[in-house]
Each structure stands twice: as C-alpha cells, then as structure tokens.
C-alpha cells in the first residue's frame, strides 16, 4: 500500500499545473469559480487552448490525436483542472462519441469526424432520452425508416444538453419496431442543419437554458451515417455509457465546492463570529469532508485498478451514487452558508453581469447551483437505476 503518487505521476501533475497557470484564461476561471455560464465562445476557446497543447482528448489513442493517458494520469488532469476552476471539457464529442467511432465506426467515419471533433468544427450533442424513455432508455420510440440510401427519422429527443450550440447530434433510433426492445435500435449521426430538425429550449428551475427538446420531422439521413450495423445500436450505446461514467465520482468538483464553502463560511458572520466557528455549521462541514476523503480514496482504488487493466464493475455505480450525494450535500452547505443571500434570483450572475446586486462575494449563484445540481442524481442513469445495477450484480443468484 502506498497512498502517494509516484515520482513520475508527481512530475506529470506539476506539468499540468504549470500549463493551467500559464494558459487558463482568468476570465474563464473566474466565471467557473463564481458559477457563471461561459457560453459557447468560452467553451470553444478553452477547447482550442487544450487542443493546441494536444490535451483535448485524454482518453483517445495517439493515432487519433489523443493523449493515451492512463487512468491515473486522466484523474490527475481532471483533478488539477477542477482545482484551477478550468471549464469542463464538453463531453459529447470527445468523451462519448469519439470512443464509439474508434471502436465501431467505419474508416470513413473516423477519418471525417474525429479531426472535426478536435478542431471544434463539429459540436456534438446526445440524442438518447425521450419524453417516455428516461430511466427506461430502451423503450425509445424515435423511428428511422430506410428509404433508398437514406433513413427517414421521426420523433422527439429531450434533455439534449447544450443542443442549442450543436451542429451534429448522435441519436438512438428504432429501426426494427417488431424486435425485442433492445434489439431494434440503431445509432445514427445526424447533421443538425438537415431540414426537419427543430431545437426547442427547456428552461430549468434555476432559470438556466442548458437543455433542449429536439424534434425530428421526416429528417433524411444518409445511410453512411449509420454507426456499425443496423439494429446493433444498443451495444454501442452501452459502450458509450461506460465512457460517460468516467470521472463519475466528481471528486475534483466536490473538492473545489468544499473550498468555496469554507471561504464563504469564513466571510459570513453568525452571532458576531465567522460562521466557520459555529459548532453546528462546522460539524456539517466536517461530516461531508470525511465522506469526501473516503470517497476520493475509493475513486483512486478503482482508477488504480483500471490503470492496471481491470475493467470497473459495479464500483462505477457506487461512485455515481456516493459522488453525487456528496456534491449535492456540498451545494446544500453553500446555500446554508449564504444565509439570506441565498434568496435573490441572481440570473444576471449566471450570465455574466452582476453589477446591480449587493451580494457578498461567492453568494450570488449558491441557490441556483443547489437547485441545478439536483440533476446530478437524476441524469446519467438515475441513482435508483445505479442501485438496481448494484443489487442485481451483487445479489444476483441469491434471490
């Protein structure tokens, strides 16, 4: 047992730190720290900075322009990015679709799409969930019917994150309505400029626009945009979801969030003393920090095993549940720390300008983030679905 990083890993961490110190624009890190949106331009700027360094695709093989980092290196990179308040890498092209094309795509698809993901020419979004297919994703009903050398797509996707910025969408569609649910699904790549696609915003409870509905009416998609084989899409979808669940623990987010709560608790006064000195608040803070310390080590145990070539099993479901619980608890502490300053609806703060507000530093986005991050235990396979997976695997055969 050795809980410390090796000398090589420490050297790599220093390299990442130096890069972030030199290259991360302060307007972006300020926005991330304060919980403001950085918009399409901000994401694209950060992606191009990472791409210039060759660090935009940590999990891709070198042959496709990736870093080919192992699990420990990826973890160090993510942890340092969170600590520096770097914007997250928008995952849809890089983390989700890229690996699917690399494993199941045609040569032509790989040659065409992968470089355009890195360059930012294509902004991808994910067409998985539907109004009637959430936790039960395999019940999706968007239809694709073959017509000559095209598929004709009709249906509706929902919860399409940042779909308002995207020019391509990867979709699960039903190509065989008579097959068993999971066997009639195909994986299609669709140009969002195709006639018949309409993107409608969904405004979330904190006033933000980050998700959308995407409607398809007689959308003609060339058959060469089918990934792999027809009716085998569920296999690819599941492969993608295992990649969606990397960094599922969100240790870096929790650590940054905890630091922010501590700063706030030192500023906010409670009975004439800093809130941080209140025994009740200090106890809440300590409790979540204790949970985070253990969860961070669970995360490292799994990363270390993955770096040694073991595929993670139910552990990633466990990390999803515990990781999101901890992040939500930290969001809850932040709103508590803000006192009455959690009440204002600082929508200006979310989009940039908060000059009109008399809020103490670090309080303007706390309740918006608390409400917004209730999504963490709902999306990416709800925590209930994760518990089903854990129970099925561990309890299977006994009941």
């Amino acid at each position: 047992m050795d809980l410390n990083y090796s000398a090589e890993e420490l050297a790599f961490r220093d390299e990442v730190r130096e890069f972030l110190r030199e290259e991360l624009p302060t307007d972006l890190s300020d926005a991330v720290r304060e919980g403001r949106s950085i918009g399409k331009e901000g994401h694209e700027r950060w992606h191009s900075i990472l791409n210039a360094r060759g660090w935009l695709a940590p999990n891709w093989p070198r042959a496709y322009g990736g870093c080919a980092w192992n699990a420990v290196q990826r973890h160090i990179f993510e942890e340092e990015c969170c600590r520096a308040h770097a914007p997250r890498i928008v995952p849809f092209g890089l983390t989700m679709l890229g690996p699917v094309l690399q494993k199941f795509g045609s040569d032509a698809q790989r040659d065409y799409f992968l470089p355009r993901i890195l360059s930012g020419e294509h902004w991808w979004c994910q067409g998985y969930s539907e109004p009637g297919a959430g936790s039960d994703l395999a019940s999706l009903r968007t239809r694709a019917v073959r017509d000559g050398d095209h598929y004709v797509v009709n249906g509706q996707k929902t919860w399409t994150t940042l779909g308002q910025y995207a020019n391509w969408i990867f979709c699960l569609v039903r190509t065989d309505p008579d097959a068993k649910q999971q066997e009639g699904i195909s994986f299609l790549l669709i140009d969002m400029d195709t006639p018949g696609i309409e993107v409608r915003p969904i405004i979330l409870l904190d006033g933000t626009h980050e998700v959308n509905e995407v409607w398809f009416t007689d959308v003609r998609v060339p058959v060469e945009n089918l990934v792999g084989e027809e009716n085998q899409g569920w296999t690819y979808a599941k492969y993608l979801l295992t990649h969606e669940r990397t960094n599922i623990a969100g240790v870096g987010f929790s650590q940054a969030g905890l630091d922010a709560v501590k700063r706030l608790a030192r500023q906010q006064m409670h009975r004439g003393r800093p809130l941080a000195e209140s025994p009740h608040f200090a106890a809440r803070l300590a409790q979540v920090e204790i949970d985070l310390m253990a969860m961070a080590t669970t995360n490292l145990r799994i990363i270390s095993a993955a770096a040694a070539g073991q595929a993670p099993g139910v552990e990633s479901s466990m990390l999803k549940v515990k990781g999101t619980e901890i992040r939500q608890e930290i969001n809850d502490l932040a709103r508590r720390a803000a006192g009455a300053y959690a009440l204002p609806f600082a929508s200006e703060a979310l989009e940039g300008d908060n000059s009109n507000l008399a809020q103490p530093e670090g309080t303007s986005a706390v309740s918006a983030q608390y409400f917004n991050n209730r999504k963490l235990s709902i999306f990416g396979g709800s925590n209930e679905i994760q518990k089903n997976i854990i129970a099925k695997v561990k309890l299977g055969g006994r009941t």
Binding site: L205, M269, R335, L343, P344, A358
Partner: protein, 377 residues
C-alpha cells in the same frame, strides 16, 4: 382536547381554498412573479375583499383574528396554492408591529392595510446580522425634533412594492444589545433612501437599502424610544408561525404532485409508483408531512404564550420543518426525475419555496441553537 378548526376558521379556510383554486393558477403565479414589484395588485385587492388581511390582525386595531391559528389556517392555504403575494411581510410582520404600538400611531395605516390599499416592508436585516433578531448596526441619531438614519439594510423583502418601510435602528447601545432599538416609519420615496431591488428565486422581490443621513421627524417613531425589542420579537414570532404554515402547505402540494406523478408516469411497462423502493420513499414523505403538520400546530398554539415558551415552540417547529421540508422537496424532485428540473412544471416553484423558506428568520441550525438556549433558560 380538540384539533378541529373553529367554525369561523373553517369557513375562512374553505372560502380561501375555493378562491385560490379558482383564481390562482400557475399562469396567475407566473404573472405575479414577472411583475416588477413581485406580486399582482388585483390578487391583493381580492385577498383584502375576502377578509384575509383582516383575519391576520387583532380586533382592537380593526381586524378580526390575529391569533396563531388564524395565521396558520390562512398561510397553509397560501402555501398550498403557491401564492407569492407579500401577505407575510405587509400584513403579518408590519401589521403586527403597527398593531403593537401602545400609542396606536399606526391606526390609519392598519385600516388601509386591511382594506388592501397599503404595502409595507420591515427593513430589519443587515449585512452582518444573518439570522440574529436584535443585531442592528443602523443608527438613529436625534437632531432637535428630527431623527437621522445612517446604515444599510439587506435583503428586505417586498421593499420595492412598499409604500412605507418600518425601519429598525439603534438609538443607543451596542450592535446586539436588547436596549436601544427603535422603529421608524419611513416613506419609501424619502430623500436619502437608496434602494436596489432584485427578484427572488422563489418569487417576490427583496432590496438592499442604504440610509444616507435620511432625516425624519421624531414623530415617525413607532413604539417606545430605545425599547422596541419585544415588539420586534413578537412580530418575528408571528411571521415564523405564518412561514411555517406556508411551508407546510407547499410541502402538501409537493407531496400530492409526486403521488399523482408516480401513478401516471410509465417506465419499464408499468407506473413507477408500483416499484416498492419508490413506494417506501413516498411513505417517508407522508410521515414527515404529518410531523410538520403537528409542529405547525404546536407553534401556532403557543403564539399567545409568554415569549420564552412561545419562541421555544417556534424554534422547534421551524427546525423540524426545515429538515422535513428539505427531505420532501428533494425527494419530490428525485421521484419525478427530469421533469421536476424544468421551470415549467409546477413542482419547481413549490420545491424552491420550501427550501428557501429556511433562509428567512433562521435556518435549521439557528433554530436548533435557539431551542437549546431557550430550553436551558
């Protein structure tokens, strides 16, 4: 022992519930929220016509209620319907302050208030006060027959829509002394008053207010000079009973919406409410809801007791409702799934109301500390 509402209160509850079911749709709430002052004047007028404002004030000032159970009956209904109109601030907080002035200076304002013609806000909280009840740094200094106010008030709910503020300020003593506090009635359009208002996450508005040498006649003082602490504590006690009941009402609606949704939402070929794991969680919500209901009854039933007894029961109720409310709001969102994250679906408003109620007058920890202090006394 009798846990039935009196006949008068039952009638009030029925008529208010009918009115709100008819008139206070989600669309009406959106309209109220989107107004720059955070409420709809026509709804306010109708609440006054129904006698709701008068029911919150005692008979000796022209009202016809003002007891703990009057407050809890009215506010449970307002919370159930998600009413954002500032009944709590104008009628309960400020109405109670005015009604408790031994000289009766507020009589004309109360008459206007009950008729629905007056809006008020209690300018009490400050940047460093957090939830302390008597923490006031704003100073009031006498210059001949005038008083000059200097200081800043923070997150003052309903200030933007108010005709007058009731301002707490210190005429003597240290920041958190019981003695030395006074209350002043100030026109919101007075010179030397600066206000920056912002909308609130759960509806309504609040403002930061600066008093830059604001000069008022000493006749603007309400209550005894330097002796307003008990009036302030009594008004906050009434407001906390009202807010506890309002939160209970919102928790009822959040639970109801969740049960209805579990019965209709289909996944894996059946209603999700047929899954036992989710059924148990709804059962937990219902258990917490009954705890909250009893906590409100305890608080309302002790509002007329002596301050230490009153405040101990109120601290208990608000601590319990903060905990039960968080559980119900978070579970309601989680059991719904994605749809509960949308602004359009009605649960969003109720969840925000429940959670953010904790940020007025004291969160769970503050109420716990009060309860411990009052239990030791």
């Amino acid at each position: 022992m009798n846990f039935q509402l009196s006949e008068e209160r039952q009638m009030m509850q029925d008529s208010l519930r009918r009115f709100l079911a008819d008139r206070y749709s989600a669309a009406q709430r959106d309209e109220s929220v989107s107004n720059a002052i955070g409420f709809a004047p026509q709804i306010w007028a109708q609440l006054a016509d129904l006698g709701i404002l008068g029911a919150l004030l005692p008979e000796d000032v022209g009202g016809y209620g003002g007891k703990g159970f009057d407050l809890s009956t009215v506010f449970e209904e307002l919370g159930r319907a998600g009413v954002v109109e500032p009944v709590l601030d104008t009628a309960v907080l400020c109405g109670t302050l005015l009604a408790s002035d031994p000289q009766g200076k507020g009589a004309a304002l109360i008459e206007g208030l009950i008729a629905g013609n007056v809006q008020l806000a209690f300018a009490h909280g400050e940047v460093n006060s957090r939830y302390e009840r008597l923490w006031v740094e704003t100073r009031a200094s006498a210059y001949g027959d005038d008083i000059v106010l200097i200081g800043r008030k923070s997150v003052i709910v309903n200030a933007a829509g108010a005709d007058h503020l009731i301002v707490s300020a210190r005429e003597s003593g240290d920041t958190d002394d019981r003695e030395g506090l006074s209350l002043f009635l100030v026109d919101t359009k007075a010179e030397g008053l600066q206000m920056r208002s912002s909308a609130l996450m759960a509806g309504g508005c609040a403002a930061e207010i600066d008093f830059d040498n604001l000069r008022i006649p000493s006749s603007a003082r309400i209550g005894p000079a330097g002796g307003a602490s008990e009036m302030i504590e009594a008004a906050l006690a009434a407001a906390e009973v009202a807010l506890a009941a309002e939160t209970l009402g919102a928790m009822e609606t959040a639970t109801q919406l969740t049960m209805d949704y579990l019965g209709t939402r289909q996944q894996f070929g059946r209603p999700i409410g047929s899954f036992q794991a989710l059924q148990h969680r709804v059962a937990d919500m219902l258990i917490e809801l009954e705890q909250a209901r009893s906590a409100v009854i305890n608080a309302a039933g002790h509002l007329e007791e002596q301050p230490a007894v009153r405040d101990r029961h109120i601290a208990a109720a608000r601590n319990l409702i903060a905990r039960a409310g968080r559980k119900i709001a978070e579970e309601a969102i989680q059991l719904h799934g994605g749809i509960a994250m949308t602004a359009e679906y009605e649960l969003a408003h109720f969840a925000k109301r429940i959670i953010l109620a904790e940020h007025r007058f004291g969160d769970a920890d503050t109420q716990l500390e009060r309860f411990i202090d009052l239990s030791a006394a």
